[in-house]
């Protein structure tokens, strides 16, 4: 037997570690998306502090929630989706796919890194936000804010995945990402400021940003958890299932 044939197949743990390390390095080098995801929420916190807007927008904790939501939206829909689309355009995935690493592992590594980045953003914003507003949260509230952040992050990631699934080139993903991002921000802000009436108001409430914001407001008063809150939770899960399956079903590794 030659030495070639004695070699064993690489084991999954080593493969995943290698992918994971590389993806961390990529995320760190790509600070722009991460920094944007942190700066944007901090701007929201800083500009709303002490203003009447705070009352109008539903109180300080809700503002923290809004800030987190926008941070998650920017890293997932602009950062994640665009980096996947660019790598796909360049053929990075094709090279990875001819290695023994299964494709689910390539994607899982990317998504896991992004989920961790989301959690870091959420933690940072909660800490900064509560100290700016002099809020004291109970441990349960902290945990709930983080849990909702994870859920919200998953939803925006799945929207990002749906975008790279349905759109081919990185230019279209980039353009669509910005449009959807701006649209959701507007919908969220206007929806919660109450200037919209009727139909638009309810579209805003049940939009991806709206459901997450409803959940954040539910946390402020966990004892008064309403049916509306539960329904928002359900709708959020629905969004995740729907966008994720779209994004996985239609995803192509190669655009050529």
């Amino acid at each position: 037997m030659t030495s070639y044939e004695q070699r064993m197949s690489p084991n999954s743990k080593v493969m995943f570690e290698s992918l994971f390390k590389a993806d961390i390095l990529v995320l760190i080098k790509n600070r722009r998306s991460l920094v944007l995801g942190i700066i944007l929420p901090l701007i929201i916190l800083a500009t709303t502090n002490g203003h009447k807007a705070q009352q109008r927008l539903g109180g300080s904790l809700l503002l923290v929630g809004l800030a987190i939501t926008y941070g998650l939206m920017s890293t997932s829909m602009l950062g994640y989706a665009l980096s996947i689309a660019r790598d796909r355009d360049a053929g990075v995935f094709q090279r990875l796919r001819v290695t023994p690493a299964p494709t689910w592992m390539i994607m899982t590594s990317r998504l896991t890194i992004q989920a961790i980045a989301n959690l870091i953003i959420a933690l940072l914003v909660v800490i900064v936000g509560t100290s700016i507003y002099h809020l004291t949260l109970t441990l349960t509230q902290y945990a709930m804010v983080l849990a909702i952040s994870i859920l919200g992050g998953a939803m925006f990631l799945s929207i990002g995945q749906a975008m790279v699934g349905l759109l081919k080139s990185s230019e279209t993903v980039n353009a669509a990402g910005r449009i959807v991002f701006a649209g959701l921000i507007l919908l969220g802000l206007l929806g919660f400021s109450g200037v919209l009436g009727g139909t638009l108001e309810s579209i805003a409430t049940w939009s991806p940003v709206g459901t997450v914001m409803t959940l954040f407001s539910g946390v402020m008063n966990p004892s008064k958890w309403t049916g509306h809150d539960s329904l928002s939770l359900l709708v959020t899960f629905g969004y995740i299932a729907c966008f994720a399956s779209l994004g996985i079903r239609w995803f192509r590794w190669d655009t050529h």
Binding site: P10, E17, P100
Partner: protein
């Protein structure tokens, strides 16, 4: 069976009745190929002939419309992970994450192929390839030829039994090209087999034991370069393009026509 006998008789790669289609376009039309252990096999054909499509099917990057690919007798569809660990691949257009440095890329792929490399070993490999000075640079900052050399380094990082190279010498300077030829020969001597595509008839004649000429997805002919010339030198189409002694290039142009492909 002894190792030597097995080498001589059995094939490392078998492509059976392979047909690849993109929508309605048939890119590969019922192609059969067999590559023996220790063989260097060249796939020749004009642009768009279907060479990359054949390789992509072997690499399980695309799903053929019909046909079968066996590596060491193992069906690649049923055992794709195991087979992928056995083959080394250089794609016609390779790209790595542009944010990673060369050294980080080597480390990533070593891990993906389950190869343990110390920093010193990595540097040695980069040195051999002539890109040690580039080790800290991101992939996108390398010249085209340097990128190609890295792609080739990655392709052989795990000493694959079968090496698939898609136009490996395109973009390389004459020195690197010769170095690659020596490497290919070295890989063969240590038990590997190589399937490569090329547009260089000189390369095909110098390094390949056997070559196949394909066009419009169909395999036109397949033999050693010398036998191909023997076999087709009296073909009227070959005669028409030959000046003096018939060369492999004359055979190629004679069989595939003189017009330029789109």
């Amino acid at each position: 069976m002894t190792e030597l006998q097995r080498r001589d008789n059995s094939s490392i790669l078998e492509v059976r009745n392979l047909t690849v289609a993109y929508g309605t376009k048939i890119a590969v039309d019922n192609v059969n190929l067999e590559i023996r252990h220790g063989e260097i096999f060249g796939l020749l054909g004009p642009n768009g002939a279907g060479k990359t499509s054949i390789l992509s099917s072997i690499e399980a990057l695309i799903k053929p419309r019909s046909g079968q690919v066996l590596i060491e007798g193992i069906d690649i569809i049923d055992n794709s992970q195991r087979v992928k660990a056995m083959i080394g691949v250089q794609l016609q257009a390779t790209s790595f994450q542009s944010e990673l440095t060369i050294r980080q890329i080597v480390r990533l792929y070593a891990g993906l192929y389950g190869v343990k490399l110390t920093l010193q070993r990595i540097n040695e490999r980069l040195e051999e390839t002539g890109i040690l000075n580039e080790a800290g640079k991101p992939f996108k900052d390398l010249s085209g030829g340097q990128q190609q050399r890295l792609a080739l380094l990655i392709a052989v990082i795990h000493n694959p039994v079968l090496l698939l190279l898609d136009e490996p010498t395109s973009g390389l300077d004459p020195q690197s090209r010769r170095q690659l030829w020596r490497r290919i020969e070295h890989i063969r001597q240590s038990g590997g087999s190589i399937l490569l595509t090329t547009h260089s008839m000189e390369e095909a004649q110098t390094v390949c034991d056997r070559v196949a000429i394909i066009d419009h997805g169909k395999l036109l002919t397949c033999d050693t370069p010398r036998h191909l010339i023997e076999k087709h030198k009296d073909d009227i189409r070959v005669q028409k393009v030959a000046h003096g002694d018939v060369t492999l290039e004359d055979v190629f142009i004679g069989l595939t026509g003189s017009e330029i492909r789109d």
